[in-house]
């Protein structure tokens, strides 16, 4: 069992990071901390993909010629997924932060429960 943990340390680290991000995303009432939790979940996913794409003794897929030996190069698929995913996660985080800024500007608070209360109050008043 302990050998498994040592051998699979990257995957296990990504599981733990994912759970930390998920708990942060669900339990915390502060919007910026929720966004930080989502960012941690993103990073955990990239770590998992990168760890899954690695194969011992193989090199990056910069191929020399047509008909290269597939046993010598790592798989390009996880690398491509991580490459594009990182940029997309940055853009989604920026969009979330912009939304949070607008909410904070309108309601003057960052706590999600207060924002909900104030929004309900607004609906009631109107």
């Amino acid at each position: 069992m302990i050998n498994t943990v040592i051998e699979m340390r990257y995957e296990i680290a990504s599981f733990i990071l994912f759970a930390i991000g998920l708990i942060c995303l669900i339990t915390d009432k502060h919007l910026i901390k929720k966004i930080i939790g989502a960012g941690i979940m993103d990073s955990a996913l990239f770590l998992y993909l990168a760890a899954g794409g690695y194969t011992a003794g193989r090199v990056a897929p910069i191929l020399a010629a047509p008909g290269a030996d597939p046993g010598k190069y790592i798989s390009p698929v996880p690398s491509g997924l991580v490459l594009t995913g990182i940029v997309v996660s940055v853009s989604t985080l920026a969009a979330l932060l912009a939304l949070t800024y607008s909410l904070n500007k309108k309601y003057g608070t960052m706590m999600i429960d207060e924002i909900i209360e104030k929004a309900k109050q607004e609906v009631k008043d109107s």
Partner: protein, 287 residues
């Protein structure tokens, strides 16, 4: 305002009542007078506390379950893991012949899966438009601006020395995406970081004077349009059945790999402008 705090370290002019980041400090004792009663009741509400611990328990269960699962998963870095299946073998074996790109990752994301990359570039574009829409001002203030301008002589000298090299490195990454590690995503990020660096050193207003949000949207839509047209041409030529695609050229030279070089340039433009537009939108709040 919080960007000013980070860059200048100048706390004295800081408006405490408004900053999102300082609101973090007031987690427990919020001085906000609104409806503090219900907030405290909600805090002492035992059902909330139970929910809180239930979520943490669920997280622990999730982690232990996943760690148990990892016992049955393929070993880390083992050659017979399911990643190394026939798809990978095909990409590595025939990638150079099919796409003409030495870099198999570029060949994969710009040729085999180019449609997926187009969708991702569209996500970047819509996120940029969304952020600019939410944070952009309707009418530009007159250029009192330059509030982000730092008087840091060290930063300025360093940037003036390094900015050309960073630019050349980013352009190299974009243009050599099919030959070496890099490509539109990595090179675009480097170029966007260079724009951020310049605008941090010399003031955001100077950069955004020529790189306005209108120009950013225009350039990004143009790049996306070129990408879509190129891929539409590829699809049409495949449907017609004739080989209208450009030849792959000498494998390993810069004019090779068919459409991968222009697609890399398009994605590089989109990514660099996205990275800069995010900084620009949040920095413009400061002025």
């Amino acid at each position: 305002m919080f960007l000013k705090l980070w860059i200048d370290g100048d706390i004295s002019t800081y408006d405490e009542s408004y900053s999102p980041l300082l609101a973090m400090d007031d987690l427990d004792e919020n001085t906000d007078t609104f409806d503090s009663e219900s907030r405290h009741v909600g805090k002492k509400n035992p059902s909330h506390r139970i929910l809180y611990f239930a979520v943490i328990l669920a997280g622990i269960v999730l982690v232990s379950q996943l760690i148990l699962t990892s016992y049955f998963m393929p070993r880390f870095a083992s050659p017979d893991s399911p990643v190394n299946n026939e798809v990978t073998a095909r990409y590595v074996k025939d990638g150079v012949r099919d796409t003409g790109a030495i870099n198999a990752v570029s060949g994969m994301i710009f040729d085999y899966r180019a449609f997926d990359t187009f969708g991702e570039s569209t996500v970047l574009f819509s996120a940029t438009v969304f952020v600019l829409m939410l944070l952009g001002r309707s009418k530009p203030k007159k250029s009192r601006g330059l509030s982000l301008k730092s008087n840091d002589q060290m930063l300025r000298s360093t940037v003036s020395v390094f900015a050309p090299f960073i630019t050349v490195f980013g352009v190299y990454l974009v243009l050599n995406g099919h030959l070496s590690p890099g490509g539109g995503f990595a090179g675009g990020t480097v170029l966007g970081a260079m724009l951020i660096l310049i605008s941090a050193a010399y003031g955001h207003a100077r950069v955004s004077a020529f790189l306005t949000s209108y120009l950013i949207s225009l350039l990004m839509s143009f790049a996306l349009l070129v990408y879509a047209l190129i891929k539409a041409f590829a699809f049409v030529s495949a449907a017609v059945g004739e080989n209208l695609l450009p030849v792959h050229g000498n494998i390993g030279s810069i004019y090779s790999a068919g459409f991968i070089l222009p697609l890399n340039i398009c994605v590089g433009i989109v990514v660099s402008l996205t990275v800069f537009a995010f900084y620009s939108a949040f920095a413009a709040l400061d002025e």
